[in-house]
């Protein structure tokens, strides 16, 4: 029986992937990217979870052996920041594209065509 965390996280990734692959609106694709990113972050966090342990902050009564794995948390913290930055940049690109082409439909944006 697969854990609900894994199942949920991978589902989020797949939903995001579906939006990226199928949706024609650029903003919807970006939404899909964000969802995918959330899914990946959730997956990473859930990998580091050890049942019954608390947050990895060294304080009274909580030693290294009573904490969950701290590495995925640091990783995810980085990943969130990167995700926000890429989203912001992609959104600004979307604004520029809309200004230039007057549409957000990816099939009508022809710049990359050879």
């Amino acid at each position: 029986m697969i854990s609900a965390y894994y199942f949920g996280a991978i589902s989020l990734v797949l939903i995001g992937l579906y939006a990226v692959l199928v949706k024609k609106n650029l903003l919807k694709i970006l939404v899909g990217l964000s969802i995918m990113e959330t899914g990946v972050n959730l997956l990473l966090i859930s990998i580091g979870y050890v049942s019954g342990r608390s947050a990895p902050i060294l304080s009274e009564g909580i030693g290294p052996n009573q904490a969950v794995d701290p590495i995925p948390q640091a990783l995810v913290l980085t990943a969130i920041v990167i995700g926000v930055a890429t989203t912001a940049m992609a959104l600004s690109a979307a604004i520029l594209i809309y200004e230039k082409y007057g549409t957000l439909n990816v099939e009508e944006i022809r710049r990359l065509r050879g």
Partner: protein
Amino acid sequence: MNELLIIIFAPLIAGVLAWWLDVRGIREILGVAGPAVSLSYLVKLYTTIDSGGFVNYTVNLGGFSFNFALTQLSWIFGMIAGVIGLAAALGMASTSKSGYEWLFALMSLTGVLGVFLSYDLLAFFIFWEIMTFGSFMMVLRYNRSASLKYFVLSVIGAYAMLLAIGLIYARVGSFSFVDVYRAFAQDAALGVAGGSTVFSTFDMAAIFGLLLVAFGVKAGLFPLHVWAPDAYSETNQSYTAMFSGVLSKAGVYGFIILYMLMGYRLVSALGTFRGVPSFGYLIAFLGGLTIIVGGLLAALQEDIRKLFAYSSISQVGYVLVAVGVGSALSMEAGVYHAISHALFKGLFFLVVAAIVHRTGKTEFKDMGGLAEKMPVTFAMAFVAILSLAGIPPMVGFASKWLIFEAVISQNLPILGGMVFFGSAIGFVYLIRFTYAVWFGQRPTDLEDTRDAPLPLAIGMGILALLNVVFGIAPGLVAGELNKIIGKEVIGGTIWELDIGVGRYNGLLLTVWLIVGLLIAAIIYFLGAKARRVPVTDTYQSGNPVTMEYNLTIRRDFFRPLREALSFWLGISFDDLYRDVAKATEEFADILRRYVYNGNAQSYAWYLGIILLILAIWGV
């Protein structure tokens, strides 16, 4: 510095200096000095080689060791390169216009000398590429599309050779000829004894096929010859003397090396056919087709340069037939014809260079009556014509006779027929060159044509002299050839060739020829009534002379032949290769339209699919 390195690199150094200084006069002297230094060192080393010696040298460079060695075989080929290189350089002193040409012409000479003198596969390949690059740059200067065709086919050949070398290295673990030979010989012995061999039959077939393509491209083997007519004709004609005379021999030398290194293993892997190794028979048969195709196409050309380009391909076909048959006699006959081809074809291209240099015209229809205006060049051309046609006492007769004997004595009727046909077609195209260029009416704009410039005439003189000397004294060459095999395959004195089933005495023949000519001269001077023959065109093949069907020696002379062959001429390998190129282009266009379509979402799909495949695969 080692003597072998001097031999190899002297032309390149001279070429670089000539290009760098680029002062008219000095660059010509330097350019001629390069091949002269190589040649003199080769001559100097003759005594060592003659006494059964062996000069070798190893350079260690970047973890690789490059072996060079001067054996009897490579000495002979090196001498071909040296002599023709010197003659062609003398020709270039008259016809070249810039330091660029000196640089790359001499670079290709260095490459070909390196190919002949290298004693491991890696050095062989590197010098092979230097040779190709130099000659490619020479053609590029004159004609872009011809050079591209040459380049593409050369690259295919180079990759084929590289793959074959890789296959050999993977199994043998060494590039050195000695180690490779030992490995193949051991393998052959194991194969005969029924043991498990290092190289499987499939390996051998693959290596042979790849090397056939690699050497075949350079030698102009049918159907890989399509680059040669364009490349030979679209460059400095003095350089073509070297290009056709020496560089095509690199392919021939490659086939001989192929025989020497892995002949036994190839026979044990691929079997024999009619008493000849079947791989050799394939080379010989393709060589025979090369003779026929090259000869027929040469007869149909309207451009002198093209005619000799095709004729050169055809003549190298002889060498390949002889090398392919692979008996000791035919091997020697092949090398002999390689020498004589270099001598007469180098001479022919220098003659063409002189004609083009002095008249600026290349087509038969603009020529005529040049024998009076360029007597020296005409004399040289006459020697070359006799030699190519195989008329004693020129060197061309001795070598062709040996090839005929070698092929017949092996009982190979088809190859024999091809070789004989090639000789007949040789007359067909030479007769046209003889009459259309040298005799008949002279067009008025050729009235003030002068004879060949002095350096070019000297270059032609060297080659013409050797054509005659080696024809009258064929034993001079045969004696050296016997040392390759290590026993007396071709007997006789220096004047006479004796191969058991027949003899040819060059001196005796010359004496009788001179006696005959003297008798003819006496009769002529004693009172043959000279009658001035009006210049009329007598060749019509039963067709009425009209303006549309005006077959003169200068225009459309072999049009009936062309019409008879029209079906076969429709099958053009040139077109085939062009179609392949076009199909590739169309395929790329389809890819661009449907796969690389500029839609970022499609690319996301590809990425997803690839990741899925990798996940299923379990990476």
